[in-house]
Amino acid sequence: MSIMEIIGSVLILIGSIFLFLGGLGIYRMPDIYNRLQAGTKATTLGAMSLILGVGFLEPSWMLKSLIIIIFIAFSNPISSHALARANYKRKHFPLILSEDKKNMDAYREVIEQEDKEDKS
């Protein structure tokens, strides 16, 4: 095995571990926002590491995998932002807050303002 193959395999292993942790996070977290947190971060680094590993194993694909990594770095957080915002506006799944901190929802005022404008 050459040094490139070893680096590539290690990167793919790390990527798979983080993707697994992301899946476990989506299973264990209580509400949609915490699930998005676990899902977005773990899948971004997981996919990046995995694709970079493929680039190391197959050196002629290296530039293509770099482009894909840049696209993932831009599109992943945007999609999670869109999901979180859409869910908050639809009030489909409530935001779970810890018992003693009910006032920690700074976004509610925006939604209430919009609701008032819709009614008037």
Binding site: F18, L21, G22, L24, G25, R28, M29, P30, D31, Y33, N34, L36, Q37, A38, T40, K41, A42, T44, L45, S60, W61, L63, K64, L66, I67, A73, F74, N76, P77, I78, S80, H81, A84, R85, Y88, L95, I96, L97, S98, K101, N103, M104, D105, A106, Y107, R108, V110
Partner: protein, 170 residues
Amino acid sequence: MQTLSFSEKVQRFILNWFFMMLVWIMFTSTFATQEVVVGAIVTMFISMMSISMFTCCTLKILSPVRIFWMVYYLLVFIVALIKANLDVARRVLTPSLPINPGVVKFKTQLTTNYSKMVLANSITLTPGTLTVDVIDDTFYIHWIDVTTTDPEKAFTEIAESFEKILLKIF
């Protein structure tokens, strides 16, 4: 959409063309004449059509000082991304699930849309935070472990290190 002077339009067009050509050459991974010529023609038409929509800045973004800060930003960002993943791993693997979620808001000094987008994306990928919405200059952040609800303290903890660098780039 803002109104642009002619020289700004030309600079944006050249910058856009350059980056599209870079992506094209990286994807094809070759310098064969036919590939490069077809790529140059197609990217020229696309960047001409999208001057006022998909371009962010004039050619001054390619000055060495700004490129230095961009590389520095990239390093800071990668360190934060790895930290965020270790943080997620720690929270997920701890049996008691140590979370204390809430939504906080803070204001930013950034003005252009592109810098705000980069800041919002970076915040989503750094430890324990997720951008829910950006309205004008106010960011609404879902924070997995809230330590403060005060906007200024939240800003110092979440975004200050990124914003300092972004102000130097844009």
